[in-house]
Subunit: 321 residues, 2 copies
DNA sequence: ATTAATTACATAATTGATTATGCAAATATA
DNA sequence: TATATTTGCATAATCAATTATGTAATTAAT
């Protein structure tokens, strides 16, 4: 079995490189076939754009053909040596190096376009037609797709998706008490200071949260508790529950755990018949605030709070679609 | 308009190179995403074949992945430095450098295959599915097509085809007398010596060939006579005509002119109601003999000839299909 | 048993591109 | 108007591959 059938799509870069090499390998011989000596195939893109118009600057050419600027500088230098382009055509802006084809260059362009170009065009087109999958169109589509979203981004999203599938959200159990405390303690003491009410809830979640009609959810990744979140019953005419004590281990970054926990908490609240959830946080916790917005929470103001660190309050109306 | 829409298929090499660069560009970042440091993406093909089996030699790996041997030598050197492969595993043949993965290498392979590999596989597959033209399959087809016939060969054939279309076969006219003589004189005096009968026919073709019921055809390429061929009436019970004085300018090599002239002469003979054509030549003129065979002539023997240089005689039976 | 040819590989040189860097010219800003 | 920033490009350094070359080790041929 062929290497690339064994490696799979993982090696698409290598496979493309090899195909490029094969397509390119006898380019020099093709030029010789048309008695074009003294022409390096790598000059072609530069040569082509110069043959279309009057004169261009190095940077303009580089942008047009997708090469780096030094690459074009170098190609132009070589072509100038071969007498095909005229370098440093005078311009108002003395930084610019305006280049254009010489008479010799124009004559060569004419020859290439009249004789070689149609032969190659037809040869490649014949290959495209011999194949059932259109390489030329496929490349164009990939250029577009990669423009929209890089391969890195795509892989990153796929990784997140796979890992979030490996995340399991379970209900609180005594064995998670230490995780519940340490995960919260970690970020609170990192940004603020632990307060009396924190200790109460974190040390005795069953007493302070669950027995009072609340819920705690734990996110397990490969069995390990890496995220927690609580839904605390509120004694308030406006709100049924407060979402609080959400904490995700830095180890679990990029696994969507915050989102999954948030969704699970909201669903739990719905199951409990809640119509509004409240939360408070601090704007320095930007990723958290961002997550709350994504979950559908909206900023409100004017409620008293026992926590010193809270400077933003949000609510989620579960009855609105 | 996009550069490649303007250049057309001529720039398929450049376009492939750019796509390869785009696909490859964030490979390093992808490895980092999986906490794989100390791994260069270019190692992947080598790493992969080593992860499949026990141990391999440098050259075996090179052949398998389509790289040059020095490239593999270098990659192995780098991987050895990173502690992923074990170099110079002892072998009977002391020239061989047998290499295999270390424990660390095996562990890494496991990690890559279990985590990174499926994510990339799916990401690339999603891209393939988002496009309407299947890049992966198209590449495979092109690998096959180029294996069958290189791009150079294809372009060469296309050039020949185009040029043979630009060749015009016309009937002899006095203005072609000098071409008729010089083209023949060129090859005859090059390989042999001009004989008395040559001068007669070449200096006075109208008297010696046409007025005696023969024909002369001239191949014009862009108006210039670059090939000639005569059909000489024979006074023989076995043959109607002799095909002779075929000459093609070396300038016109590869334009199929010999074939086109031969075909035209045969058709002319058919139109004249001939049933058998005769020719004589010399076996040192290999391309000519080859052409005669391709035109359908078959070797015969035992006829007398006025030319010293003839050492092969052939005939074409026009009545046989 | 020599000698010649082949093979396996390392090293060196080259190629065609890239990023990094520095400098002068032009433009924007205080 | 002086200063800071940006632009355009050349040069240098680097990278990932390639061909070219040299040298042991092995195999084939005389």
């Amino acid at each position: 079995m062929n290497l690339f059938e064994r490696t799979g799509k993982m090696a698409i870069g290598s496979r493309l490189r090899l195909l490029t090499a094969k397509v390119t390998e006898d380019a020099t011989k093709i030029y010789e076939l048309y008695d074009i000596a003294d022409f390096s195939p790598k000059w072609f893109p530069v040569f082509f754009v110069l043959s279309e118009n009057e004169a261009k600057t190095i940077t303009e050419i580089a942008n047009e053909i997708g090469h780096s600027q030094p690459s074009v500088t170098n190609i132009i230098k070589e072509m100038a040596k071969a007498g095909l382009v005229l370098d440093k055509i005078k311009s108002d802006d003395k930084r610019r190096n305006v280049v254009g084809l010489t008479e010799k260059g124009i004559a060569l362009a004419d020859k290439i376009i009249k004789e070689q170009w149609p032969d190659i065009e037809i040869s490649v087109e014949n290959m495209i037609n011999e194949a059932t999958h259109n390489l030329w169109e496929a490349i164009a589509e990939w250029e577009f797709l990669l423009e929209q979203k890089s391969l890195f981004k795509r892989v990153q999203e796929q990784k997140k998706l796979r890992e979030s599938k490996a995340v399991e959200i379970v209900h609180y159990d005594t064995k998670y008490q230490s995780a519940f405390k340490s995960l919260n303690e970690e970020w609170i003491s990192n940004y603020f200071e632990m307060e009396e009410s924190d200790y109460k809830a974190l040390d005795n979640p069953e007493e302070y949260i669950i027995s009072r009609g609340g819920k705690i959810l734990v996110a397990l990744y490969k069995g390990e508790p890496l995220g927690v979140c609580a839904l605390i019953k509120m004694d308030d005419p406006d709100y049924d529950y407060e979402m609080a004590k959400m904490a995700v281990s830095p180890k679990a970054q990029g696994k969507n755990i915050g989102w999954l926990l948030g969704q699970a908490i909201i669903n739990t609240a719905k199951d409990l018949g809640a119509s509004k959830i409240y939360l408070e946080s601090n704007t320095i916790l930007k990723p958290a605030i961002n997550l709350y917005y994504k979950l559908g929470f909206q900023k409100i103001s004017g409620r008293p709070t026992p926590y010193k660190r809270a400077n933003i309050q949000m609510e989620l109306n579960l009855n609105v679609k």
